[in-house]
Amino acid sequence: MAAASIIGPGTVVRGNVRGNGSLEVRGRVEGDIEVDGDVALGEDAAVNGNVSGAQIIVAGQVAGDLRGSEAVMLERGARVVGDLSAPRIGIAEGALVRGGVRTEGEAPAPRRAAVLPARRGGERSDFARPAPKPIAVPAPKPAQPAPAAVAAKPAPAAAPALAVEASGGPPAPVVPALGKGVRGKKKTKRS
């Protein structure tokens, strides 16, 4: 099993970092990171290049694209200028992002998110909690025979459940189309 690597806080790497195993960056990397294991960027980490790995957890600064084969998670201290791409993407409150966000790719079986090593104060990672149970979004009631000339198209039966498990790739974001002339319905209490 490939080992874990660490780029310490006082280290600057000017060049590419590639290989097997997981990588924790607490220093600076000016170049691309491409590993097949997990990548954890600490709070003081700064990466000027693209990052590619299995599960990428960012709490530092990145100027480049993040491409995870499993997940990309931005923690509160993350400052990212670049695109995020992974089957599962999480952006914690407080993270700063500027770039495209795209959930794509095969989602493997979810596992408990890796926890960043203890930071000052020993806060836990925002994502270190068990995966939430899938919440099924109930299909909306069919449109009432109201003034609407064209009934609103009912949301597809396979309304994207907010399931963490996905048998194929993550569902494409679906916005139910509204027919022409449909207006919002005032909610009235049913007697």
Binding site: A2, G8, T11, V12, V13, G15, L23, G27
Partner: protein, 104 residues
């Protein structure tokens, strides 16, 4: 605990500079400069000029090595390059080819 650990399976192509201790189990190509100790473990490959406070070689190093304190080549270690340091040891079983400058 070492500041920087380059694990087995990881390859760094470029300059590594800093003030952390560096332990190399993987591969470093380029230059390696630190103000602390560098340890190239058995299986580690360094194709770079190394500058550090002390350097311990149990793997393969190809490049010039300069240390403020000492350079040690362990048994099984191999260093091809010039070395410059105040203190220097080669263990029985180590390989070395290059010139030695002990700042005499």
């Amino acid at each position: 605990m070492a500041g920087t650990v380059i694990g087995d399976g990881l390859t760094i192509d470029g300059e590594v500079t800093g003030d952390d201790e560096v332990v190399v189990h993987g591969t470093v190509r380029g230059t390696l400069t630190t103000s602390e100790a560098v340890s190239v473990a058995a299986g580690g490959v360094v194709e770079a000029d190394v500058t550090a406070s002390s350097v311990s070689v149990a793997g393969h190093v190809t490049g010039n090595v300069t240390a403020q304190d000492r350079i040690d080549i362990q048994a099984g270690g191999r260093l091809v390059g010039d070395i410059k340091s105040a203190r220097f040891t080669i263990a029985d079983g180590a390989s070395f080819k290059g010139s030695v400058d002990m700042e005499v």
